[in-house]
Symmetry: C2
Subunit: 187 residues, 2 copies
C-alpha cells in the first residue's frame, strides 16, 4: 500500500528511493470497517489519513443529532479534522468510514519532523494545504451562493465516481438538502 503513497508524492516532488523509504517509515497503515470511527467529536485526533482504499467522510453532528458533512475523501485524498490535528485539540468533527477503508496514518510530530528534515516534503505539504484551502473556498462559495440543484450537478460533474459510490442519504447531507429534495433532483 506504500506504492500508492509513492505515486502520490511523485506528482509533486522527486524523491530518491532512499528518501521515499525514509518518508514512508513515518507512516503506519491501518484498516477500518464500514461505519467505523476514525476520529470522534470530543477526542484528540492523532493522525492525518491518506486514503489507499475506500471512502470516508468528516461531519459535524449538532445537538439535535443532525449530520452536516464537511468533506468526503476517497483514494489518493487526505482526510482529518485539521483544526484538531494541527492545534492538538479535541475533534469538532467525526470521521467515519463510508466503505471498508485502508489508510496510511501520519502523526503531527512525524509530519513536522519530515518537513523540517526534507525541504521537498515541506514543499509537498505546502502544496497540498494550498489545494485543500482552494477546495474549502469552493465549498463555502457553493454553500453561500448555489442552489441545491446547482451543487448536485457540480458534484456529479466534478466527481462522478464519488457521487455513484455515496449512499443517497449521505449525498443529501453533503449537499445540505433533504432526502426527498435529492430524489427530485436526481429523478
Amino acid at each position: 500500500m506504500f506504492e500508492e503513497l509513492k505515486t502520490h508524492f511523485g506528482k509533486l516532488v522527486s524523491l530518491t528511493p532512499e528518501e521515499f523509504a525514509y518518508v514512508s517509515s513515518h507512516f503506519t497503515s491501518r484498516k477500518f470497517r464500514k461505519h467505523q470511527f476514525v476520529a470522534q467529536q470530543g477526542s484528540p485526533v492523532s493522525h492525518d489519513f491518506f486514503v489507499v482504499k475506500g471512502l470516508l467522510k468528516s461531519s459535524f453532528v449538532n445537538e439535535q443529532g443532525k449530520e452536516h458533512i464537511l468533506q468526503l475523501a476517497m483514494e489518493d485524498w487526505w482526510i482529518s479534522d485539521y483544526q484538531a490535528y494541527f492545534n492538538q485539540t479535541d475533534a469538532t468533527l467525526d470521521i467515519t468510514c463510508v466503505e471498508d477503508v485502508e489508510v496510511l496514518c501520519l502523526s503531527l510530530a512525524n509530519r513536522e519532523k519530515l518537513c523540517s528534515e526534507l525541504h521537498q516534503i515541506e514543499h509537498f505539504f505546502r502544496k497540498k494545504s494550498n489545494a485543500g484551502y482552494i477546495a474549502l473556498q469552493r465549498r463555502i462559495l457553493s454553500l453561500m451562493s448555489q442552489s441545491a440543484a446547482e451543487r448536485y450537478h457540480e458534484l456529479l460533474q466534478m466527481y462522478p465516481s464519488l457521487a455513484q459510490r455515496l449512499p443517497k442519504t449521505l449525498l443529501a447531507s453533503y449537499l445540505g438538502v433533504s432526502r426527498e429534495t435529492l430524489s427530485r433532483l436526481s429523478a
Copy 2:
C-alpha cells in the same frame, strides 16, 4: 511598512537581517482607497496581499447582485482569491477595501521562488496555509450548523475590533443575514 512584515515573519521563522532584506525585496507596496477594487471577478489575481493597514473583504456577488462575504482581512492578515492566485485563473471573488488600505503584494512567481530558495519561507507559508485552512473549516461549520445569532456572538467574541470597524451592512452580509435581522441581534 516592512517593519510589520518582519514582525509577522518573526512569529513563525527566524530570518537573519540579510535574509529578511532579500525576502522583502520580493514584495511591492501599494495603497488603495476605501471602496477600491484590489481584485475583481473575471480578471486575473496578480498577488497575495499582506495587510499593513486597513480592512478589506473578499466577496462573491451573484447574478442577482447579492453580495456574499467570504473573508475579511485587517492588519497582519493576508487576503487574496487563492483559487485564482494559485491556479492563475480569473477571480471568482471581488476583493475590495472597506477602509483606506496599505498592503504588501507578493506575486505567485516570487512566492514560489522564495519558497524554493529558502526552506524557512516554505515552512512559513505552509504554516500560514494550514492556519487559513483551519479558519475556512471553522467558517464552513459555522455556516452549516450555527444560527445567525450564534455566528454574530462568536464574531464579537473572537474579533471584537473587527466587528467594531465593519459597517453594519457588511457585517450582515458576512453573517448571511438581512440588515434588519442584524439590528435585532445587536439591539
